[in-house]
Symmetry: C2
Subunit: 208 residues, 2 copies
């Protein structure tokens, strides 16, 4: 029964989710794979096959109910839960991310922020006070966050990740230039902003 879903499909799921959210806001309550595919720049077959990886939520002759499709995808992504997350690094990137992304709509809520810079400790970001990173182990033990966003200078990454891992963190969102490797007992999502610049540079070279 266990059919594994390919990474390509997973990577498309958040985008489906965003589009469906838009459709709801526009008041659309039903959509066909064809219409959705046109909106998203895919083929209708691909859309259907993507959804069918998870059992198929459509109705023949009718299409997909936008609301319930969105809900289903949300459940697949696991964002109907509210997992506890902490932010390591209250610099520009960390603060920007904390203030701009609606965690609650994406499966998480932010419960703590940590930094090792005395200037930053005690400041508030949103409604959270920045704590000393030295206290992170104690915080993790008490509050059991499952995920950590790492937004610190490259040099410190290995040690920080090591300590967080030991303290029980199971998932990492990594903004640093260092690559945090996937491992048996943890999951990692790397966000390399510099790579995006380089990719854009390549595309420009091709077309412009």
């Amino acid at each position: 029964m266990e059919k594994k879903v390919s990474e390509s499909v997973i990577n498309r799921l958040p985008r489906y989710y965003r589009y469906l959210d838009e459709l709801i806001k526009e008041g659309v309550d039903r959509i066909s794979s064809k219409t959705l595919s046109e909106k998203m720049g895919l083929t209708a077959s691909q859309v259907r096959q993507d959804f069918n990886c998870f059992g198929g939520f459509g109705q023949q002759g009718y299409g997909y109910k936008v609301e319930s499709l969105k809900e289903s995808i949300g459940k697949i992504l696991g964002i109907d839960r509210q997992r506890s997350a902490i932010l390591i690094g209250a610099g520009n990137i960390g603060r920007a991310f904390a203030l701009n992304i609606t965690f609650e709509k994406r499966g998480f809520h932010l419960t703590g922020i940590f930094d090792n810079d005395p200037e930053k400790i005690g400041q508030t970001v949103g409604d959270i006070v920045v704590s000393d990173f030295e206290e992170v182990e104690k915080f993790i033990e008490e509050n059991k966050p499952e995920m950590a966003i790492v937004a610190i200078p490259k040099a410190g990454v290995n040690q920080v990740v090591f300590r967080l891992k030991n303290a029980g963190i199971k998932a990492f969102l990594n903004f640093t230039h260092a690559e945090v490797e996937d491992a048996e007992d943890i999951v990692v999502e790397n966000i390399h902003l510099g790579d995006s610049l380089m990719r854009l540079s390549y595309k420009m070279g091709e077309k412009i």
Copy 2:
């Protein structure tokens, strides 16, 4: 002769580039596909095949010269140039990106920042003064930037992109939740931070 390089390969190039940069800093001046593959979590064949898309820079029995390989990949990515870029939106994300990413190492240099919030106009970010967005067309005409980083609220995206396109901008790095579509005459790289959160959520559901 024109063999098109697949997107998968392109997406790996920035990562190669980063690793090679690290190797140089470690003082390594030569490396085999096998060693590099182990460091990057790929197979040696894939590494060789990737490089061969562009002609092959190695020497049999010896391996690859780290320095010249990095240079070659840099050229492929087009980051040996210095294209002019402007930032639209001096909010948290925009400022963080402008201050944290070394544009010069990635093919660009930042020449202007624009916002429509009177509070932000006149402020400085790094060494650049934030200008009124109403003056962006004039600026583009005079300075001919080729790329724009869009880091504004979702609602304004379409209009902003429309104006920038008309003024002559050919490439967009999009941080907003709205999807900026690739088109014939422009290239786009979307960075959806929220999607990364959702992907991480999914991976956690699988493993944890």
